[in-house]
């Protein structure tokens, strides 16, 4: 049994325990890894709608006249110049280009911003930002312990979020929210942020709430979503959902020894903007040739490739699996691997517990996301 003593809880922990969740330690929190089972939960999000408690994520508010330029100096993507309500996915790098974390940055007002980082990196990012904050013009307010976060993901998510009583007069705004935009509104005990974002590849929302509002919102979503078959989703299915659409996960595809160019998120690196931490190293890497790349692999032999399994091409070790599992949607073992840039598409071997198992490259991503556009767009499966 996992030792859960001394871990942080969320306003929903009691609900998870009371509804049969298997609770595990995750980034200092006691979190639900699964309820009825990862396959059923995964399917619920792909086909209907699921609820995720992701309160463990870090929320650091930043404001002041210097905030816009300062944030731009810290991260690889361009956050400046966007409209209020815009959300930007970005990496935050060290000077050598290694990734400290990947994150979302929200423009909540002319001078008010929200940085949402991974739970496992929260302390590191809070310290890094504090260490770089200018003496004047920027104020940081780390509200990670005060803000709850509920993700509502799946083709029925728009209808379900619109059923929340508190959002009844904002249904048109919810329907009009573009992918990677958000709005703020008054909640019960404080401000809510309704965001058209997610980590599943499905149409979805993330609701930032004061802790005190979270349990009632969760219960209301479960009740009002009963006819949709709304399902609580644990961290295990959160991982398989993001994996199928090839969204990076820190500690797997991203890390301090991996640059965003290697991890395939070069689209979130704006080398032409003003200087930012890591820019010099990334410009140099781009000029010299990015040495590694992420590769999508289908295991054609028998076995499931897991993280850290070595990848061999023509008998030579060329890299390792960053994430690998059995894809619940495509019903076959798949893997993402970080390999030397020169490895061509085709056949490789993966060392699965001492045995060389055949695998071959396949298209990126494994499954197309439909987070934008028609929530029920028909997918052509490879």
């Amino acid at each position: 049994m996992d030792d859960l003593a001394g871990l942080k809880t969320t306003p929903l922990t009691d609900w998870h325990r009371a509804h049969g969740a298997k609770m595990v330690p995750y980034a200092g929190y006691e979190m639900p890894v699964q309820y009825e089972g990862v396959l059923a939960e995964h399917a619920a999000v792909r086909e209907r709608v699921g609820l995720f408690d992701i309160t463990h994520m870090g929320e650091i508010f930043v404001d002041g006249p210097g905030a816009e330029a300062w944030l731009d100096s810290l991260v690889t993507n361009r956050v400046s110049g966007g409209a209020v309500g815009k959300v930007v996915y970005t990496a935050m790098c060290k000077a050598d280009g290694g990734v400290l974390d990947d994150m979302l940055i929200y423009r909540l007002g002319a001078e008010r911003w929200l940085v949402v980082c991974n739970a496992a990196n929260h302390d590191k990012i809070a310290a890094w930002m504090s260490g770089h904050v200018p003496a004047a013009g920027v104020k940081m307010d780390d509200r990670s312990d005060a803000v709850a976060l509920i993700a509502v993901q799946g083709p029925d998510s728009r209808e379900l979020v619109g059923r929340l009583a508190k959002l009844a007069n904002l249904r048109d705004d919810i329907a009009a929210l573009d992918f990677y935009t958000a709005f703020t509104c008054p909640g019960v005990t404080g401000e809510w942020i309704v965001s058209r974002t997610g980590y599943t590849g499905e149409h979805g929302y993330e609701l930032y709430l004061p802790n005190a509002d979270a349990a009632a919102v969760w219960t209301e979503l479960m009740t009002r979503g009963a006819d949709f078959g709304v399902t609580p989703i644990g961290l295990a299915a959160r991982d398989t959902l993001r994996f199928e659409v090839c969204y990076c996960l820190y500690g797997h595809e991203l890390g301090e020894d991996i640059t965003p160019l290697e991890a395939g998120i070069g689209w979130a690196v704006k080398l032409k903007k003003d200087d930012f931490t890591g820019r010099g190293a990334l410009v140099a890497q781009q000029a010299a040739g990015v040495p590694r790349k992420l590769m999508c692999l289908e295991v054609t032999g028998r076995g499931i490739a897991r993280q850290d399994a070595r990848v061999l091409h023509q008998g030579r070790d060329v890299g390792y699996v960053t994430s690998g599992t059995f894809s619940p949607t495509l019903k076959k073992p798949l893997a993402l691997a970080l390999v030397e840039a020169g490895v061509p598409d085709g056949e490789v071997l993966i060392d699965i517990r001492g045995k060389g198992v055949e695998a071959r490259t396949t298209a990126f991503p494994f499954l197309s996301a439909r987070a934008k556009g028609d929530p029920r767009a028909v997918r052509t499966l490879p």
């Binding site: 089972g37 499931i304 059995f326 619940p328 073992p333």
Partner: protein, 125 residues
């Protein structure tokens, strides 16, 4: 549920003996702990193993577990249904989810295995 007709190991395998052969599987507890099982690899028929040898692999979406043989002997049958449909292991671990049949070479090894009562206690029941 722990059926009373068979013996158990600390590693959550069961063996149901019928004459010279025993049918081996993993318990409901083990299958539940692993979660949704999506891959099963079993040994070749005719191969011989010692008690406690790892003879197969059971994988769920999240985890990998070895199958340890509860007794020494020769593999005389494997359940191809479960390799083709690994979810049988979650659905019916004590029945249609059996894994291998073994011809016992040291039947006395059975004496040291847990009976249903002792295994139930191990689970905290």
């Amino acid at each position: 549920m722990v059926p009373g007709d068979r013996k158990y190991t600390q590693e959550h395998e069961w063996i149901l003996v019928d004459g010279a052969n025993g049918t081996v599987g993993v318990t409901e507890f083990a299958a539940h702990e692993l979660g949704d099982i999506v891959f099963v690899e079993l040994p070749a028929i005719g191969s011989s193993f010692k008690q406690g040898d790892a003879v197969g692999t059971i994988e769920s979406v999240k985890a990998v577990a070895d199958l340890y043989l509860p007794v020494s002997g020769e593999i005389v049958a494997v359940n191809d249904d479960v390799t083709a449909s690994p979810e049988l292991l979650n659905g019916d671990p004590f029945g249609r989810g059996w894994l291998v049949k073994v011809k016992l070479s040291v039947p006395a090894e059975l004496d040291a295995l847990l009976d249903a009562g002792a295994y139930g206690e191990l689970l905290g029941g």
